[in-house]
Symmetry: C2
């Protein structure tokens, strides 16, 4: 594995001037790091506000790194007969040179059953502790799981050089560790796995900069730890949201973030699986469209081969067209673009829309029935299958489990207005609720019905899009609904107007230039089934299921009015 | 159901001037249709070339429609005691007025077992044939299935007025049919279901324009029928690709198109299901990015709140960043934007990318192993579960089933060059194949190995993106691959460069401004596992699995350099 041969050296790489031999210290990567972080160009892709901060920080970082580099540049022990058992791997070793047939064991599957077996793991150098020149501990992390590796100098097995190499590793470097599994008598507190690896070989596959822009330990610190530190007077670093996002690749490595995005992946899976089992067809509608996809909020405009175009604000029009095209029940999971200047904890300029649209026979309650079963399936599925992930999130950001009923509560908008009124809050019965009122109503509903999840339907027509079907018994209201988790909206939906002349009239009334949506309106002229549907924000579902305080926490690489990077 | 009461009439709708009472003829919708199709605004959103054609066509259409309207405007029979059993439903009836508890039976599930039972179906008036003033046939279509409905005048059951109403229906209108299931002694050739419905009630839920821009019968005609017509001298209409796309909502209703998009939905499902079972996490990476996502082909540019931005040409950079963020194995299904001026049968400006990226231990063959199992799972799944859909596609566009091996063939690029050479075709061993050469090689591979699906790997480095890992034994070649179906590329992938300095060097060599990708390159400075991945074009997979001749057939609402609508 740790081949020193250079006869196959890649000329292109040699030209690069890089040494491919096993390097015994981290100086090279330190220099790389210093050069990089101070690169003034780096700030260009960051948000403007963040860029200034970063410049100052980079300077401090560089100073620290230069000091670290000087300290690490110690003389290398060259006479070690075990030298081949440790060191930096050359790139060649992982450049698809050969298939060795070796098996890597997952850190998460290291259990008592493997006692006394020789195993090989690849992971990150999560924590390194040199006890003496003869002993060191290395905690290796992989996919959120950690295992403690022990190095004890032992002639012919572990050399001082190996201990030195390990203590010189920079955190977050990728390492291959080969060793024997042992089961200690006492519980291991510093790692998730309750076995240890007695190291025989250890190689660095990819070196990290020795000083990181954010420390994983800081990024993963829980509120409880902050409270404790405050009591004890210990100084601990709190990593701000903007800094996290600037170095998102590091931030995402925390157990909570690993959990958040695995939960998010699971939500999509449950959404799809349920809908496919109910006869829905998955669609991919165009994101590049002529004209605005809905009236109201602003859109991102662009030039499309000389034609004015914009990014779809939702798959609304095309998913309805798919219903007119006989697909019966359809869904889509895809990006949704909003150019609004909303600087809130729950708005993004790009998010993932979970959309569905379905034929209805006579009532929009048919959509609510699907919605109801769908979300109970999702919540049950998360609670059942994402225990580890939810626990990891809860450790850093404590939250109470979501309360939801087996059959989702349905209140009319007017009932909501009445509940607020009884609580002393007067709202316009023909207006929309603001965020604060929604939260307040969420609290009242929880108190009265013991649920964090409920449907509010029959919204005032005036606050809904033009394609919303009015109520038959009161045209001031509509066959529409919003759905709330913990007092915040996650879903919006309705029965749609499927009659083309009425649709045209409604569009005109709301000031929409019907010429820009003529192909949409035309779709209803060739026979259209009554239908309804809804749109869900994936990031909001995860945010609110876990009671997180910011939607940027549930978007992998968030986009808001000030952020277009990384 | 067909309530005539008007006391609940919605004032907003009355103001519209529309009559909500049961209307006994189709004149109203005919006028709507005539007005709409001749609307000169309609052409605005069509491609320029298509717009001219449409103008001429619309004029012809209008003339035909006016003639049809005149013919249909016959005097209505008002004294029919059965008048409540048929007619046009008012919008009110499907405006979420009530939940009647009635059950609709799916046309596709109409079987012998239902003999003598009274059932209710909703579907389209697919075909209408008046035999006499006392008898008519109505074929109802739902989700690609059809059933024959019979009307025979019978006192107290079926009136002449009902027969007249049905014969006056315009094709593609949505109808509710209530009747008794009977099983005829002879096979039914004009419908998919082998039972008949003896009609008791029939209502029109949504009227279609009487003259459609394209007839479903024409749009669904198979090559075999065209050949037959040529032999018999019969005149049949062939609907061109552009016309189909201009009226995509109608075009999509053909059995073949219903099949294509159900197959497409199934491909995504199998892709996800397999990857999730292999431990992959589903991601959603941003489509709005600063700078170009890869060098080379042109991008759609836009203004992002005062910052220059563009649409992602692939999730490449962000999915690799997710690997650096410890997600281990990731995939994404989402739109991919290419502003290239490619006017071919296989290029689109927006398509659906199926992307995956994964940690590898030592060799890019680990990616090929996943790819191999993934695609065999997809092909097997389609053949097993989409028989009906594939049959429907095959009926209109005949194709041979895809030949693929249980273990996918892997040839090196150099082996491909050699095979071509032996067949008398000289190609540059350090260049790329063109479409013609790829097809030719596909033919040679099929001849020699009896497979339509194979992997070609170790492409020349010069023809691959900057992030591609060179081969260790020959830096002119790379650890990359393409995958072919029926001689056309559907997948591109490789091991990636995970070493930041080498990555920077490669980017610079290919003329990429590294400042625009600094956050990407920085991701590799904090420890990066060796990794590789691939991207698949969903539309291409479906196109080539079914040997279709144009990618516009497998994109729901295609976008090419000339088309931004519907």
């Amino acid at each position: 594995m740790a081949s020193k041969s250079t006869e196959n050296r890649n000329p292109a790489q040699s030209a690069d001037g890089r040494a491919f031999e096993i390097v015994k210290n981290g100086v090279e990567s330190i220099e790389i790091g210093a050069e990089d972080v101070s690169d003034p160009q780096d700030g260009k892709s960051l948000s403007k506000k963040a860029a200034k901060k970063e410049a100052a920080k980079a300077e401090r970082l560089q100073k620290r790194q230069m000091a670290a580099a000087a300290a690490a540049a110690t003389v290398v022990e060259e006479s070690d007969p075990l030298a081949g058992n440790y060191g930096d791997l050359p790139l060649e070793a992982v450049q698809s040179k050969e298939i060795s047939g070796r098996k890597w064991t997952r850190v998460g599957s290291l259990m008592d059953e493997l006692k006394d077996q020789q195993i090989l793991v690849r992971g990150r150098a999560h924590a390194i502790r040199g006890v003496s020149s003869k002993m060191a501990f290395l905690v290796v992390r992989e996919a959120g799981y950690t295992v403690q590796c022990v190095l004890n100098v032992n002639p012919g097995v572990v050399s001082k050089g190996m201990v030195k190499f390990v203590t010189g590793l920079s955190k977050e470097s990728i390492v291959d560790v080969e060793g024997i599994v042992t089961v200690p008598n006492i519980a291991i507190t510093g790692a998730s796995q309750q076995v240890e690896i007695h190291v025989r070989k250890v190689y660095c596959v990819s070196k990290s900069q020795p000083t990181l822009p954010i420390n994983l330990e800081d990024a993963a610190r829980s509120e409880k730890e902050f409270e404790k530190a405050e009591q004890t007077g210990e100084h601990v670093v709190r990593v701000g949201q903007d800094t996290r996002l600037n170095y998102r690749v590091l931030d995402l490595r925390t157990p909570a973030n690993q959990g958040i995005f695995r939960v998010q992946s699971y939500v999509s899976m449950l959404f799809r699986q349920f809908l496919i089992s109910e006869g829905f067809v998955e669609l991919h509608t165009p994101k590049l469209i002529a004209g605005a996809s809905e009236g109201g909020s602003s859109v991102f405009k662009l030039d499309y081969k000389g034609q004015p175009a914009c990014l779809a604000q939702s798959p609304q029009l095309h998913k309805q067209m798919a219903i007119c095209a006989d697909f019966g029940r359809v869904f889509e999971i895809g990006p949704v673009f909003r150019a609004e200047d909303s600087f809130t904890h729950r708005h993004l300029c790009e998010f993932t829309g979970l959309d569905l649209e379905m034929e209805i026979k006579e009532h929009y309650f048919e959509v609510l029935d699907i919605l109801d079963k769908l979300f109970i399936t999702i919540f049950d599925g998360l609670n059942e299958h994402c225990k580890k992930e939810l626990h990891a999130i809860n450790q850093q950001y404590p939250f109470e489990p979501l309360k939801y009923l087996r059959k989702t509560l349905r209140l009319t908008f007017q009932e909501g207005v009445q509940m607020l009124k009884e609580a002393g809050i007067e709202v316009d019965p023909l207006g929309d609720f603001n965020t604060e009122t929604e939260r307040k109503l969420g609290g009242l509903v929880r108190e009265k019905y013991d649920t964090d999840f409920y449907i509010l339907h029959r919204y005032p027509l005036a606050v809904r899009p033009f394609y919303t079907m009015p109520c038959i018994d009161d045209p001031l209201y509509s066959n529409s609904f919003d759905v709330f988790i913990r007092g915040e909206e996650i879903i919006s939906g309705a029965q749609r107007v499927h009659e083309p002349e009425f649709l045209t009239k409604r569009a005109k009334e709301l000031g929409i230039d019907v010429n820009t949506i003529s192909t949409y309106i035309d779709s209803f002229r060739w026979g259209a089934v009554p239908h309804g549907g809804l749109g869900v924000g994936l990031e909001r579902v995860v945010m609110l299921f876990c009671a997180l305080n910011n939607i940027r926490k549930t978007s992998l690489f968030p986009r808001d009015p000030q952020r277009l990077a990384p």
